[in-house]
């Protein structure tokens, strides 16, 4: 179980390798990488709530482990100023079978989107900046795991 909140970029290939190597029970590894989309913006600033963030991400990972048989899970979330195309978030899960790996990775992302205290502020190409608004679709995505 691992959670990291950092300004620095990360290496998805190295993270996948570290997660899956050394345990030949693992048959399936799923990863999600979230990137800064570039349309109309020059960059994005990620603010978070130090202390609570790490706690919230660890709780989400614990929930995933309780729900699926996982050999491993990893959440990395960047903070600070990010350019278009930059990696923001990385989630990876490892399990014996693909269904558990897919579902748990999607579950972690859905919970992260509505439960982890991060806020995005976009800097527009027109010189203005604005806080990104939460999407109702994200709430719905989280709720479906509670049914």
């Amino acid at each position: 179980m691992a959670v990291r909140v950092q300004e620095a970029d990360f290496d998805p290939g190295a993270e996948l390798e570290a997660l899956s190597s050394g345990d030949t029970e693992i048959g399936a590894v799923v990863s999600f990488t979230g990137l800064v989309r570039g349309a109309g913006i020059t960059g994005m600033t990620l603010e978070h709530y130090p202390g609570m963030t790490e706690k919230a991400l660890a709780e989400i990972e614990t929930k995933a482990h309780a729900r699926w048989p996982l050999q491993g899970a990893l959440i990395i979330h960047r903070i600070g100023l990010l350019s278009p195309g930059a990696r923001i978030v990385f989630v990876a899960t490892a399990s014996r079978h693909r269904k558990a790996a897919f579902e748990s990775a999607e579950f972690i992302m859905d919970y992260l989107k509505t439960r982890a205290p991060f806020w995005k502020k976009e800097a527009g190409t027109d010189g203005t900046s604005r806080w990104v608004e939460a999407r109702d679709a994200d709430d719905s995505a989280t709720e479906r795991w509670q049914r």
Binding site: G34, E47, Y49, M52, K113, T114, P117, W119, K120
Partner: protein
């Protein structure tokens, strides 16, 4: 107790965190917000739409009915948008 603000709430109020001492009849998060609104126009404007406000007490999600007695750190912020 310490009250913390994030994202546009922090920007509108003008500080990220502050020590506050609400009167004894302020017992819930909702009450705390109503009391903060009376402090000045910045607070009143920031908290105009409380539907847009989320709460954590001592770094755990909470709601407006939650008791604040004994809380060390109350955080108020807009819905999260990470990921």
């Amino acid at each position: 107790m310490q009250v913390m603000y994030f994202a546009w709430l922090r920007e509108r109020i003008g500080v990220g965190a502050e020590e506050v001492s609400p009167p004894d009849d302020v017992t819930t998060v909702g009450g705390l917000i109503e009391w903060l609104k009376t402090r000045n126009d910045r607070y009143a404007a920031a908290f105009a739409d409380t539907k847009a406000i989320r709460v954590a007490i001592d770094q755990e999600q909470a709601d407006f009915d939650a008791e604040i007695k004994g809380a060390r750190e109350i955080a108020l912020f807009p819905p999260v948008t990470g990921g």
